[in-house]
Symmetry: C2
DNA sequence: CTATAAACCTACTTTGTCAATAGGAATAAT
DNA sequence: ATTATTCCTATTGACAAAGTAGGTTTATAG
């Protein structure tokens, strides 16, 4: 399984906020309830989103979260990368990786590079705005 | 990291056998040495390939392994699936998964289905024959 | 028929990550 | 002052990944 709950929950959190932030801040508790995710666990995830500058937080009564930018400016790929770390399908492609000593003779490097590319490109195509209101029935083949 | 050593080593093992099986069986020890992989660990991996009908094994002196079919008939996807299990990027897409209760309202299902598709399609394009002799320098953009 | 080289088999270990849980401290509105 | 919220630190249990250890069986060569 390539995408963990961290990435998946983060995406669901952001979409939920996008859909409910009309006027006011959206409290974590509400999102957790709507999405059926543990509050405490969501906190950990949301903390990273705040630190990463994806979310604005407001403390105290009446507080909560809202997006820092319009939903079209959140690519799914960037959100997932923030939560999961590099999405490279194999370790040797990770950023800041010292090149593997067998690289010059590797039969599979090209394969993995291509895989990395198709994944990356696919995920970069989508933004939060694409996900908002999305439902399986209304699925459009892209 | 989506592809573990099991899948990666299996692929490298099969390619190595494909490249060396001209006449005789290829002993595991030789592959392990050439590929710089622990013999004992490779054993575990190879056992699954034999059980899965990908490899023919011959015991005793002069024994070793050879492919059961021509290299063009081994898709990378099928090899990886045998070793890694389902390649689905999220659990809810795995085969024989009971549908998630939130499915009807899920904003991300379509996203994951599409991701699963591009990964699957990409990996199905390649066979062992494509990997044999492959080297990064000779990389061809597909 | 014995030595050797190979596959085969069962079990164990170590390490790390995932997915939470627990319990509170700081802050803002009413 | 009360309440509703975010923020912070620490801990836990389960599981899998990656590898190790030590032996048994089978075929070939001399």
């Amino acid at each position: 399984m390539m995408i963990s709950t961290k990435g998946r929950y983060a995406l669901r959190f952001l979409v939920d906020v996008a859909e409910h932030q009309a006027e006011s801040f959206v409290p974590l508790r509400d999102v957790a309830e709507r999405q059926g995710i543990s509050e405490k666990y969501l906190e950990i995830i949301v903390k990273e989103l705040v630190k990463g500058g994806e979310l604005e937080a407001m403390r105290g009564k009446g507080g909560g979260y809202r997006l820092n930018r319009p939903p079209e400016e959140y690519s799914v790929r960037s959100v997932l990368e923030r939560m999961e770390g590099p999405l490279a399908p194999v370790a040797c492609l990770g950023p800041g990786q010292k090149p593997c000593p067998r690289q010059a003779d590797c039969r599979t490097l090209t394969l993995w590079q291509g895989l990395d590319r198709v994944i990356s490109d696919y995920l970069a195509e989508f933004t939060l705005a694409d996900l908002c209101g999305e439902r399986p029935e209304s699925a459009v083949t892209r």
